[in-house]
């Protein structure tokens, strides 16, 4: 097999950086491979992508040691334009990478830059759009497409040049489950049909193991582990690999194998539900069944947020939310799920009074949101943005937390006491005098939550808390929300991560085209496979597994384990 990219003992430090972003990375990428790169935030995944694309060191300043050979060309001495002839790159944010306003123009743009004759260009554009399955979108504005379609346009524009290697840096992190599936299947098709070498950075480990030939796990600028998915997850001593989550069925397998009385023999590692069933056999599993897990019913308080027949129409005429009726009670942990563009964020904005309904009534603590100023609501309802950089604007971490309290008129001693307490809780007290923008992304996310906690709101509304976050950060945020919920705070969270919804939320609302299509306890919604399929969502692996085995949905690995072993 021909080696296309060879990295030898690569060290890289950004000009403005204090630490090495990459530390002695050595890696070979072979022709026709599908390589998945994963690892926690700040591991150096994006930097490695930029090195493999030749953008580092050609267009980024810093110190480089070691070498990167891309199709036999040294990245230090070869002009970027030469490297780019063979390498295509797709980035995380689908919107920033569109430079034109029509799909056809976007795909043609790279060919125009290449100097391709017009007639040939037109044929190539049609070929490529058909290959990624978006021929019908040729004259659409890429910004008006769904998340999955946008990334397919980005992929099409890159493969139009017929590169040998395609590098994709977290292209699925902003996408709903349907969008993620579209991207994965498109890449898989390209690999099979075009013999394209694919390098994909992503956190979706359960999808990655289905498609990748090899997984590279990075941490703190180093490659910690690499190999086939089965090899990477083989012989683990703990149920997570230094912060890399295992597919749920793999983790379940490991935990089951430690239950001595089951005396299971390790014949291989299951990575998918089908493999799990094959390894253990449905009959064997049946004998371990015990009883249906009982959901713990907690008593909820009074209705604090109520939406009656709420519709919201944007000035351009788009109805983002249509006739929504919803009550949220004190102490609830509510998750709102649905495909991209289903109106989830608009619904959140209506809930917190940022938008006023065009029809219907939103009542916050019994008062019509139309009669309330957002700044008055601010002390009772806290809102955490998807991107922490949208809500950090002060000079220091301390000032950031104190900002809302000063607006509320608290005394300096009260502010100091409260800010110190909150910063201690989120582990940022030691950096309280540091400007927020000098913090890592994980720290900024925690600070964003701290700014909300400082006001001690009764309701905390969180928009996509896990987007672009690694497994540890995602879990940290959700654990923090769980803790707050246990002290009677009401939590409303919008997310695409079904695993976290199953593990943390108590009630789920499914929103499609601005309408509520399901509203009920998590277990009921997760077991309604027909509905989930209809709205392009899938339950977590263990839920599907126990539904297949026993017709009973488990929400967590612990529940599945309990069902299987407590005979």
């Amino acid at each position: 097999m021909t080696c296309l990219i060879k990295i030898e003992d690569l060290w890289w430090r950004y000009e403005a950086g204090k630490d090495w972003a990459l530390r002695g990375v050595s890696l070979e990428i072979n022709e026709g491979e599908f390589v998945g790169i994963t690892g926690p935030s700040g591991a150096g995944k994006t930097t490695l992508c930029l090195c493999m694309a030749g953008i580092i060191p050609n267009a980024v300043r810093g110190i480089m040691r070691g070498s990167v050979s891309i199709l036999g060309k040294d990245s230090k001495t070869t002009p970027l334009s030469k490297i780019m002839e063979d390498v295509g790159v797709v980035f995380q944010d689908p919107e920033i990478q569109f430079v034109t306003m029509r799909v056809i123009d976007e795909v043609a743009f790279v060919l125009e830059n290449q100097g391709m004759p017009r007639r040939e260009m037109m044929t190539r554009v049609d070929e490529v759009l058909s290959l990624v399955g978006i021929s019908d979108l040729k004259f659409k504005n890429p910004l008006e497409l769904s998340g999955g379609q946008k990334q397919r346009v980005a992929i099409a524009s890159m493969i139009a040049r017929r590169p040998k290697v395609m590098i994709l840096d977290e292209p699925t992190s902003d996408l709903d489950p349907q969008g993620k599936r579209e991207v994965f299947s498109t890449l898989s098709k390209l690999k099979e049909k075009e013999d394209l070498t694919v390098i994909l950075v992503c956190h979706e480990i359960e999808e990655l193991v289905k498609y990748a030939d090899r997984i590279v796990f990075m941490r703190e600028g180093e490659v910690i582990r690499e190999g086939s998915p089965r090899d990477v997850f083989a012989n683990l001593t703990s149920t997570n690999l230094n912060g890399l989550p295992l597919p749920q069925v793999t983790e379940l397998y490991y935990r089951l194998s430690r239950v001595k009385k089951l005396n299971l023999t390790m014949n291989g590692i299951p990575l998918t539900i089908e493999e799990f069933l094959m390894l253990f056999g449905e009959k064997t599993m049946e004998s371990y069944r015990l009883k249906r897990p009982e959901g713990v019913e907690t008593e909820l308080g009074e209705v604090i947020l109520s939406l009656k027949g709420v519709t919201y129409e944007y000035p351009d005429g788009t109805e983002a939310v249509r006739g929504v009726d919803l009550d949220v009670r004190r102490g609830e942990f509510l998750a709102i799920i649905g495909p991209n563009g289903s109106g989830k964020t608009t619904l959140l904005k209506l809930m917190i009074g940022l938008l006023k309904p065009t029809k219907g009534v939103v009542k916050l603590f019994g008062m019509d949101s139309r009669e309330l100023r957002v700044s008055d609501i601010a002390l009772k309802v806290g809102f955490v943005y998807q991107n922490p950089d949208h809500q950090l604007f002060c000079n220091t971490v301390y000032e950031e937390c104190a900002y809302a309290l000063r607006n509320a008129g608290l005394s300096e001693s009260q502010i100091r006491e409260r800010v110190d307490r909150v910063l201690r809780e989120v582990g940022l007290l030691e950096v309280k005098d540091v400007p927020p923008y000098f913090l890592s992304k994980g720290q900024r996310q925690r600070l964003a939550i701290a700014t909300v906690l400082a006001t001690e709101p009764e309701v905390i509304v969180v928009d996509e808390p896990t987007t672009g976050q690694d497994y540890i950060q995602s879990r940290y945020i959700m654990e923090m929300l769980k803790l707050l919920n246990s002290s009677e705070k009401t939590i409303v969270v919008v997310t695409h991560n079904m695993r976290l919804v199953a593990e943390y939320a108590k009630r789920v609302i499914v929103l499609v085209d601005g309408k509520v299509v399901a509203n009920g306890p998590v277990r009921d919604v997760m077991s309604n496979l027909e509905l989930l399929k209809k709205v392009s969502l899938s339950p977590p692996q263990v839920t599907s597994l126990t539904l297949k085995l026993y017709g009973i949905p488990s929400l967590t690995i612990d529940e599945a384990l309990f069902m299987m072993v407590s005979k």
Binding site: A53, I55, N58, A59, L80, S81, M84, V89, F91, E95, I96, Q97, V99, T100, M101, R102, I104, D105, A108, F109, V110, L111, E112, N113, Q114, G115, M116, R118, M121, M122, V125, N141, S157, M158, R161, I352, L354, R373, V374, S375, I377, A378, L379, G382, F383, Y385, D389, H390, Q391, L392, F393, C394, N395, Y403, A404, N407, A408, Y437, T451, T455
Partner: protein, 271 residues
């Protein structure tokens, strides 16, 4: 429907398929004419024609309504500045103000004329920008011999404006949600509140620019090869005639302004 920078326009709008160079020239000509013409009657005539042409060009007239608040603010500012600070002589002086300026019949007429010129620019620009696509700006500028890199950067700036505007609204909302009330306080206090927006917007802007740089490198913008183009626009006979017509219009307007008083403010010179 065709998506332009600002809205969706019917595919068969006579303006949509116009040569990009002509679209840009029409935009320039209408604004230059607004500067040249000072005769209120002629200005009213052009404005009425422009408003009627919205229907003919299949551009929704409601587009102008979006600028209503902006227009009212500007019209007020123009009127107040002339009422309080002008010394235009007239046949009748209504008020003399303590600081030496006065309001005459000609002051009112001239303020009205300036308002008309502003409205002509606003309505004309709205009409021609409503049919402007990104490729129109790029190809239009290239037709004017502007290098592709500059033409593309101008287009990209307009394209990116919506992303930066989106960031602005998000940061502002985040401040409101933490108790900032932008509607209260004097000018200095408001300025101080708004100044806080600068830091996150700058950080986000820098990050976005870096991402954009990588994207453009990946899309081969820096390639040294001779660039080719997907579209080929031809002026054709009618296009050439329009081009000549527009050039003549500007030349004749300037000539008329200099040599006769046909386009001038009635009553000049006053005194």
């Amino acid at each position: 429907m065709v998506k332009t920078f600002f809205l969706h326009v019917e595919d068969d709008s006579p303006l949509i398929n116009l040569h990009p160079l002509l679209k840009i020239l029409l935009l320039v000509v209408i604004n230059v004419e607004a500067w040249i013409i000072e005769n209120p009657l002629i200005l009213i005539l052009i404005i009425v024609c422009l408003l009627l042409s919205f229907k003919f060009f299949k551009v929704p007239l409601s587009r102008i309504v979006k600028f209503l608040v902006f227009a009212i603010v500007i019209v007020q500012a123009i009127t107040v500045s002339y009422l309080l600070g002008s010394t235009i002589p007239g046949n009748t002086v209504f008020f003399k103000l303590p600081w030496g300026t006065y309001i005459s019949d000609m002051t009112l007429l001239y303020a009205f004329t300036v308002v008309l010129r502003f409205l002509l620019m606003l309505i004309g620009s709205t009409l021609f920008l409503a049919v402007m696509r990104d490729v129109d700006i790029t190809y239009g500028l290239i037709s004017m011999k502007v290098p592709f890199s500059i033409a593309f950067m101008i287009t990209l700036t307009l394209r990116m404006a919506s992303i930066f505007l989106n960031d602005y609204f998000k940061v502002r909302d985040a401040m409101v949600l933490r108790g900032t009330d932008f509607s209260t306080g004097n000018v200095l206090e408001k300025a101080r509140k708004y100044s806080r927006l600068a830091v996150p917007l700058m950080v986000l802007g820098v990050r976005r620019m870096m991402e954009l740089t990588y994207v453009l490198e990946a899309k081969g913008l820096g390639f040294k090869r001779k660039r080719t183009y997907l579209y080929q626009f031809s002026l054709g006979v009618s296009g050439k005639l329009i081009l000549i017509g527009l050039t003549l219009l500007i030349a004749l307007s300037i000539a008329a302004k200099v040599s006769s008083r046909a386009l001038s403010f009635p009553g000049w010179p006053l005194g």
